[in-house]
Symmetry: C2
Subunit: 469 residues, 2 copies
Amino acid sequence: MASQTVLTPQADDFPRWYQDVVAKAEMADNGPVRGTMVIRPYGYAIWERIQSAVDARIKQAGAQNAYFPLFIPQSYFEREAKHVEGFSPELAVVTYAGGEELAEPVVVRPTSETVIGEFMAKWIQSYRDLPLLLNQWANVVRWELRPRLFLRSSEFLWQEGHTAHASFEDAAAYARMIHAEVYDDFLEKVMAIPSYLGIKPASERFAGAINSMTAEGMMRDGKALQLATSHELGQNFAKAFDIYFQNEEGQAELCYTTSWGSSTRYVGGLIMAHGDDNGLVLPPQLAPTQAVVVAVRDEADVNDACARVARDLTAAGVRVVVDRGRGSFGRRITDWEIKGVPLRIEVGPRDLAQGVVSVVRRDNGEKLTLPLDSLRQHAIEMLDAMQSNMLEAALKFRDGATYDVKTVGEAIEAAQEGFARLSWDSVGPHGEAVLKTDAITVRCLQRADGSMPDSDTEKNLVCIVAKSY
Amino acid sequence: MASQTVLTPQADDFPRWYQDVVAKAEMADNGPVRGTMVIRPYGYAIWERIQSAVDARIKQAGAQNAYFPLFIPQSYFEREAKHVEGFSPELAVVTYAGGEELAEPVVVRPTSETVIGEFMAKWIQSYRDLPLLLNQWANVVRWELRPRLFLRSSEFLWQEGHTAHASFEDAAAYARMIHAEVYDDFLEKVMAIPSYLGIKPASERFAGAINSMTAEGMMRDGKALQLATSHELGQNFAKAFDIYFQNEEGQAELCYTTSWGSSTRYVGGLIMAHGDDNGLVLPPQLAPTQAVVVAVRDEADVNDACARVARDLTAAGVRVVVDRGRGSFGRRITDWEIKGVPLRIEVGPRDLAQGVVSVVRRDNGEKLTLPLDSLRQHAIEMLDAMQSNMLEAALKFRDGATYDVKTVGEAIEAAQEGFARLSWDSVGPHGEAVLKTDAITVRCLQRADGSMPDSDTEKNLVCIVAKSY
């Protein structure tokens, strides 16, 4: 196809390819204030599908949505020492409002542990109120010096879950359940992105957490992208905000809290985990449009046939749009490829005469000539196949570019083109410092079998090491 | 019921009744920063249902969702003279971010005409790009000196639609269509709130608009609440942001734009349009829980029967929760009444023995004893009946408290307990000033038959005059 001339090839310049896709697929633009982002309708339609799939899983996990204020008193941040230290450099501060200087400046939320902690303290009386399981969908602001659309922006959209529990064990189990059954399940089944689940080394922990879990995906350039995190906050925020409950014996005890979040960064991950030189490749479950019915020419019988095909597929639950035959066919095809629409159904006068259409699969380019009267069944099967094949392909790609190594030196070499996996004992804080001189970090710690450890101090852990976004 | 002791009666102190309902139904709390609001899970669940019904209508109207930045350069506001004049007193300004003073302060959006205008100018090339129909769901900030939960808060959640058109007529027709088919249709069919649709007098126009349309609902205390507005912006923002298109003859022309919004204020309207001395009364279409199955006592066979009833109703598409028989029955009943759940199904051991249950309708208190085996059908019919009866009752209440009068003096008298309707010629700017000394405003201008005028300069208009929130 002609799209080689439209996008920078991945192999030439991956970051530029990414920018090209975001622009040409009309997903997002830079906002006027440094680091802010305009999410255009096509990018937002993908985000709406992400939201809906993640939200359903969060509700399934028993958490309820709520909404807390954008503005947080600056003093709240100062109550948890590590939290203020971690977030201070990124804060945006309102000093002037309603025509006058504010007595106490207010911070635009970078995350909401503090203000939610304040209300947990109000709402929790006894053990009967626990666990308290909350989530909110909101915008947050973290001032970015090197912004990148969807990956790092000064304002982004996300969900942040916040929970309070009666025991350490209950909090730990809940954060782990969210990590597996909300994030990993969504990434695998909907995004078709396999991820390494593990614990962050202490150096990379969330500011104020006692343990941070992550899901790390591999992008097509071999770099890592952190796609979701879940934090055990211990009693740090409970102490800072007086989140007490009365236990069954009538005594006051401090709660254990957790927080967990994922954001519009998912969209960046989607682009970089599956995209190719012709543009986006969307997993059918996420695609706002699953099939485009393209009229080869702008003729009445062709357009009528397109409308019939679209009606038939829509009735079968497929999300379809029709592209009437206006303008260059080649140009239209290129545009639909850039947008990553899973199935392209081409309807031309000659094929029509024979009662067939051409169907092209976006992920592998497979092109089939199919009889009109069995198109519906075939289309559904092809969408299912594409969803599972995309996960398999991503898994194969990731495993093929994950190298088991022995030393930090070998890890640095391997991380030039993929992930390195090695014993955490052979890295440690010193190794982390060495890696960082090459802009490489420890992405997570796992057990040797790939499972989630209880803590970062467990024996015989391995670490996944990579360059990252 | 015992709830008279829980809530201040409406007749004693309506504003306090409102506060009591918001607090006791656990809908919202005041945030720590002046005028901000915490929307609690029950309030947010109602908002989610509102969002979903409004969003479906917006998509049906052809608009696409997108997302624009929270932060807007201060200079953008200064480009449209009336806009900056109208919004300046309410702006919150970020002057400090990322550890340093900003070169240009940024405004936290109070509304997004300016920043969206900037991007419309970038995206619109030719007449083929028109109309451009956008909407966003977002938080906005307008500093409030006299905040009230859901009605006036310094930060609120809303949708704001923004469209660009090739002609004045097309813009006017689209804004009117949104007003009727999104807002009025939603208010009537889902919220069960009849509203007066009309044009705002020039004094009450949106800052920068050439015409503002409103939907005014009557609350149970006879005051008006503005529930949604749609604005024709003429070419004011197109001029300020250079929103040009090339017409079919290849000449550059300025676009005509519109904007239209509705917010979490809907929740306040819902409370005040339908609530009674026992609390919220939710129209079944909006209720997060449509039926609560209450076990009269905590006994195994009673709880089992409750679970069976809940399964049966859930299978029929009813949103159900079970209240197992723990704690005082009276107290639990009071709580469900405060939350406004449409149907309460009481399951007790004596009734069970006879194969019946008691069903109570929240709107009119009607209590029926119904056989278990036909409960499902009855419940669905009762929910339907309640939805339409609530609209009828609200319409009857509104019409009964709308008084046709002749003079401004009579209007002032009528507005002490309801709405006054009189000829706009007999009011005019002078009458508006007189009304304002009694905190009464002209809510909207209509034709004598209640329909929407073409403009506020049309002859023989009537005006609706009331106290308002």
